[in-house]
Amino acid sequence: MYRYDTIDRTLVNERVAQYRDQLARHLAGDLSEDEFRPLRLQNGLYIQKHAPMLRVAIPYGMLSSVQLRRLADIARRYDRGYGHFTTRQNIQYNWPRLEDSAHMLAELAEVEMHAIQTSGNCVRNISSDEYAGIAPDEIVDPRPLCEILRQWSTFHPEFAYLPRKFKIAVNGAHEDRAATAFHDIGLTLRRDDSGALVVDVLVGGGMGRTPMIGTVIRHGLPWAHTLAYVEAILRVYNRHGRRDNIYKARIKILLKALGAQEFTRQVEAEFAHLENGPGTLTAEEYRRVAAFFSAPAYESLADHDAAHERELARSQPFARWVGRSVRPHRVPGYRAVVISLKKTGVPPGDATAEQMERVAQWAEHFGFGEIRVSHEQNLILSDVRVRDLHTLWSEARAAGLATANHGLLTDIIACPGGDFCSLANAKSIPIAEAIQRRFDDLDYLHDIGELNINISGCMNSCGHHHVGHIGILGVDKDGEEWYQVSLGGADGSSLSAGRAALGKVIGPSFRAGHMPEVVARLIETYLQARLAEEPFIETVHRLGIAPFKARVYGAPLGEDGHAEETLAHG
């Protein structure tokens, strides 16, 4: 884990003091809502439907147990006892009081956390691979560069009032678990033929109203130039990105308008002025930061554990959980464990204060006190010994945190939606729940196999519906909530067969009450058409959407009164 020194601490404390003063002036009527808005947003504070919402950064998804306990404590004392983990490795509190927000930030600062630039038209939290440092397929640990970028982007004076928000993701593994193709900048770290660390720089990916897969504009950038190159991109964007239309303001629109070639030319021309300047990274700085991410004191273990094998053979629920939740680790005898936050009846990504404390305790007891937050809105214990898996499972099951559905249909990604968010056209959480209830049979779920369902309550795509194998988008039709369904989206991870693709809309949208049946028909179509071992996404890519469409729209969906009622009380 990165640890603050006096410089980091001073900056975060000064930020809290600055915000405290701004909030006081706002509450006293000296700072208008229009003037206060960008300031509070860049401190993570939205004003939502029912209350303000505070979004706290979890830089590149890394948390210590001490930090997670503090998040739990804040949930209990300033919120309603829970928090919501998001697709960009942040946590959101949905019920704080505006008056408390400065206190909350001060409490976060005590454990080296903040909500800086988690919202607003600025460079947001840097996101990355949730298995960084432990994944067997890793080429370069992305965390040192993530932390270097976090520091560089924090309070960058020139890029705080960009045309629109700006998201950067970094990946250093063979599998892209950071959805780099869908970020404003996606950095892929690799080694060139001589073994030197280089960066492939992708620009202009994104979801939202105009989803786009980004374009690699520079292959093999020597790592030391990363900051200068990113600065060049941001300067071109800050100067020339559109500011007249919020829907055309992201960098992807600028890149498309100029054409990739001309955009790249402008970036390269700017970079030429910065190359080898003071922003060039030094080996000393890289080593200094990388030292924080050095491997913990792993035991030397056999990868095979006889007692574990016996438990696997003895208990089907345990074996099932291991099959879904336990992921490979680069160190023999260790595994990463996904703690699913997708139990049916609980909004996807939500965790109670008690659950956060339990996870923190497990991280200390079974690991080195470290937790990751995944973009699928789950938590990950990074270093669990194989021989401890059964004990962990027993405890997790008792705490309601051993749902064996990671990567399956019910591991739904969903934004907070119309229940909380003032931008939403429609609710997300009740739709997720209705689908989870329909597919509550674990045998059936495992038979269906790996599948992403992603739900967004509006075009802002916080639920990443464009890259859901099944994507669901809430739309407003004459004041009613309807849902548009797309098929074949893929985020670029292995679950998505390693490709990045945007889903295709299958046709007219559906009422909320019909959604479980719509999903059921999609699944039936898949089960009938699939080849042996062929996952859902592959079948969709092989057949196209036509057979799915025919099935879904082929027969009336029937009355939805009962389902509507369930939703209304969900």
Partner: protein, 174 residues
């Protein structure tokens, strides 16, 4: 006379900002110290240069690099912020200072509010024409919000990692 924040205090400002209506040809700026739009400067630089106390102001979409031929002779360049949330002027300032090496007064004009001054100062502004309803004392206080900076910009070109060894992590506060 309006005030300008400069050198850590608010003082009387001699300059006026001339904002001629668009589309009218051949207008002549008023006498006295004045800032003229970039387009006017480019159209009549020879005559304007002859006048004492004439500076240029840039709109957000003006190219600051267009001032290159005159940059050493200009006493005042201003960058206009029609709305404080339009951040193009920050890059204009950076380019004036770092690409053109402009060393004269660089002032922020328009919707200039106390809470933006810390960043404006970092990118190279050294004079601030605060929006008239805002208090200079508040602006001066807000300017010093941060005592450190991670990244290089105009006022401190060296990023923190080139300014000597970092002190190393402090004790974890539980």
């Amino acid at each position: 006379m309006a005030e300008i924040i400069r050198g850590g205090r608010a003082e009387a400002d001699r300059f006026s900002v001339w904002r001629p209506p668009a589309g009218v040809e051949g207008q002549i700026p008023p006498p006295g110290p004045v800032l003229v739009p970039l387009a006017h400067w480019l159209a009549g630089a020879e005559t304007l240069q002859g006048r004492r106390d004439t500076g240029v102001w840039l709109a957000p979409d003006d190219d600051p690099l267009a001032l290159a031929p005159w940059i050493d002779g200009l006493a005042v360049v201003a960058v206009d912020f029609p709305k404080f949330t339009d951040g193009r002027g920050y890059s204009s300032a950076y380019l004036l200072r770092n690409r053109l090496g402009y060393r004269g007064e660089l002032r922020a004009i328009g919707d200039v509010l106390p809470d933006q001054l810390a960043y404006l100062k970092r990118v190279g502004f050294d004079a601030f024409a605060l929006r008239p309803d805002k208090k200079p004392a508040q602006a001066l206080a807000a300017m010093g919000a941060f005592s450190e900076a991670y990244q290089g910009s105009t006022d401190q070109p060296l990023p923190v990692f080139r300014r000597g060894e970092r002190p190393g992590p402090a004790e974890w506060k539980r």
